[in-house]
């Protein structure tokens, strides 16, 4: 009984004679990234529009009326300071948005509310409902910027706070006639509805784009999967035709009495045909896993050379690097070339471990593979053993 064990060094094992390429599988990660790219592109357009609206409004509408009504304001420097702070917040949030990030919503929203209250107080009673009180209409656009891509509820809450501050100001300034209150309500409605619509619209467009891109990517993945499955199906049909042909020949010869069931050659043909049929039936995967695909190719080859071989696979192998797959497949493939009598090839696969085993009857004569080369590192362990009864080749990959 001889035992050799150790990891295979790259290139020491004999190369298999046939290496078929496994059908490619669609990578779900790529599709997902594409969906994100589309969604991001459409979101970027909306960001640019929102930043332009807020800053243009602030400069083209807010600034002229502030300067024009300077003398009529109760505390002009305070109102102007609020304008500057708001411009700074808008600038900072805008830069962050255009660079693809999101501004810190909570601190900026709080700062805007402070500006809101301060300007309402500093504008004075007479300017409360004039354009000089620029926070009425202009501030809501900045809410939009600082709350970008946050839930709509946050914006509504902020606008609610804005309306409450205005109501408190209205009450404290004593302008509470029914006409004033209805004017207040109209202002709140008029200045809030448009930002809310823009905000909700932008969110909806981004969601739609994401969904569409996701659907397209999923459709692409399905198509690729279907292609691979179709290819595998054709391949299997071709093999089935071959197997059926062989089996029919044997059966027909037996039926006509041309072949004698007692003849070892006839029995061997029957065994080969049966083994091949069984392996074909055992293939349950729609899209072949690359590892199983390579092992099946090796098994087919051995069988064409007249070796009855059984291939049993349990579990689905995870995605493995080509090098790992090679180290798993090469030793048993090389040992197959040396097999006599019969062979049993097994695969047990889980997410963290894949074990390939090849067992054949032991016989006199050297190992085709020779002792495995040095290099104890690497995630694939290779074991080759003869015990007088069987020859046993095992490769085992463990996730490290």
């Amino acid at each position: 009984m001889s035992t050799e064990s150790g990891a295979v060094a790259a290139g020491t094992a004999a190369r298999p004679a046939v290496r078929q390429r496994a059908p490619e599988r669609a990578d779900p990660g790529v599709a997902e990234a594409a969906a994100h790219a589309v969604a991001d592109a459409s979101d970027r357009g909306a960001r640019i529009v929102a930043v332009i609206i807020a800053l243009a409004w602030h400069l083209a509408v807010g600034l002229p009326v502030l300067l024009g009504s300077w003398s009529r304001l109760a505390a002009p420097p305070v109102v102007a300071a609020g304008w500057l702070v708001t411009a700074a917040i808008g600038g900072a949030a805008g830069v962050r948005l255009l660079r693809g990030g999101l501004p810190p919503a909570r601190p900026l929203a709080a700062a805007l509310l402070v500006v809101d209250g301060t300007v309402f107080a500093a504008a004075g009673e007479r300017q409360l409902f004039t354009t000089a009180n620029w926070v009425w209409g202009g501030l809501a656009w900045f809410f939009l910027l600082v709350l970008w891509r946050r839930p709509l509820g946050w914006l509504l809450a902020l606008l609610g706070a804005h309306a409450t501050i205005a109501l408190v100001a209205v009450a404290l300034h004593g302008v509470t006639t029914p006409a004033d209150l209805s004017r207040y309500a109209m202002y709140v409605y008029g200045t809030s509805s448009l930002p809310v619509a823009v905000f909700a619209g932008a969110a909806a467009i981004a969601a739609l784009a994401r969904e569409r891109a996701g659907t397209a990517a999923a459709a692409l993945a399905v198509a690729a999967e279907r292609d691979a499955a179709e290819r595998a199906r054709r391949e299997r049909q071709a093999r089935l035709a071959l197997v059926s042909g062989t089996a029919e020949e044997v059966l027909a010869a037996l039926a006509t009495g041309d072949a004698d069931p007692a003849d070892p050659a006839v029995r061997r043909r029957a065994v080969l045909a049966a083994a091949r049929l069984r392996r074909l039936i055992a293939e349950s995967d729609d899209v072949p896993d690359p590892l199983l695909h390579e092992l099946r190719a090796a098994a087919d080859l051995a069988e064409r050379n007249g070796l009855p071989i059984e291939l049993v696979a349990v579990g689905a192998p995870p995605e493995l690097p080509v090098e790992v797959r090679r180290r798993l497949v090469d030793p048993p493939t090389a040992a197959l070339a040396d097999a006599r009598g019969w062979a049993r090839l097994t695969v047990v696969a889980g997410p963290d471990e894949v074990v390939v085993g090849l067992v054949t009857p032991d016989h006199e004569g050297p190992d085709a593979t020779g002792p495995p080369g040095g290099g104890g590192d690497g995630p694939v362990e290779h074991l080759h053993e003869r015990d007088g009864e069987i020859r046993w080749t095992q490769t085992r990959w463990r996730r490290t």
């Binding site: 069984r278 049993r344 047990v348 085993g357 067992v359 015990d387 069987i390």
Partner: protein, 238 residues
């Protein structure tokens, strides 16, 4: 490819009564021929309907059941028979691991792949008759590759023994590889199987397997936890 020598103490000299349920007469005849060569077994009835067969042979100790009858998977029938205490050995050409595990969950005493041959068939039926586990290589593969998150926790040795038995189909070779005796290999394999008596719904057959395993010293009652009392209570009188 060796099957286990199975315990001789099957029902004190009397041959074990077997019922065969399959919808292919050629399979029935084949299995009958296999079992006929074994003096410890006697086929009492055969047919393609489990109810009819068991009415003809109510005393059958083991039922060999083809899992697919007239194009339908009869897992529900299997569960019903197992719940009623019938020792059912499922034998099927459907050897995907999901089907095998589902059969064990439903209460099958053992699962035999149709291509596994006479030795395994006889050994399985004999073991089943005395509520002992028998794990043919295909079933060992299904157990060691069980991907379900709630699968029974197997020890490293049990997993290794199952894996090597599945690969080599030779307990002698597994024993040499693991540097233990063949008897110990069989113990690891059987213990892994016994742990599966806790999976799926309870069945009288599972309780019987477990009780016998405890009696044989294969598992200790304290390893089994809550199942102990249930097992002793459910155990059919011999």
């Amino acid at each position: 490819m060796d099957a286990d020598p199975v315990a001789e103490d099957v029902t004190g000299g009397q041959p074990v009564g077997v019922a065969i349920v399959d919808d292919h007469p050629v399979v029935i005849d084949g299995v009958r021929a296999w079992l006929a060569g074994e003096p410890r077994l006697r086929v009492l009835a055969t047919g393609d309907d489990p109810d009819v067969v068991l009415r003809a042979a109510p005393d059958a100790e083991v039922v060999l059941l083809d899992l697919r009858l007239h194009g339908r998977m009869v897992l529900d029938k299997l569960a019903e028979l197992s719940a009623a205490g019938r020792r059912v050995v499922v034998y099927s050409e459907h050897t995907d691991p999901e089907t095998m595990l589902a059969a064990l969950d439903a209460g099958a005493v053992a699962f035999l792949a149709k291509h596994e041959g006479r030795e395994h068939c006889v050994a399985t039926v004999l073991a089943a008759a005395c509520d002992r586990p028998y794990v043919p290589p295909a079933l060992a593969g299904a157990l060691v590759g069980d991907p379900r998150p709630d699968r029974p926790a197997l020890s490293d040795k049990e997993r290794e023994a199952l894996l090597l038995w599945f690969q080599s189909m030779s307990k002698a070779s597994v024993a040499r590889r693991m540097r233990i005796s063949e008897h110990t290999v069989k113990q690891y394999v059987d213990r892994a199987r016994i742990k599966y008596t806790r999976a799926g719904r309870p069945a009288a057959t599972k309780a019987a397997l477990l009780a016998r395993a405890i009696e044989d010293g294969l598992v200790r009652p304290e390893d089994i936890g809550i199942y102990r009392s249930q097992a002793s209570a459910d155990r059919p009188t011999p």
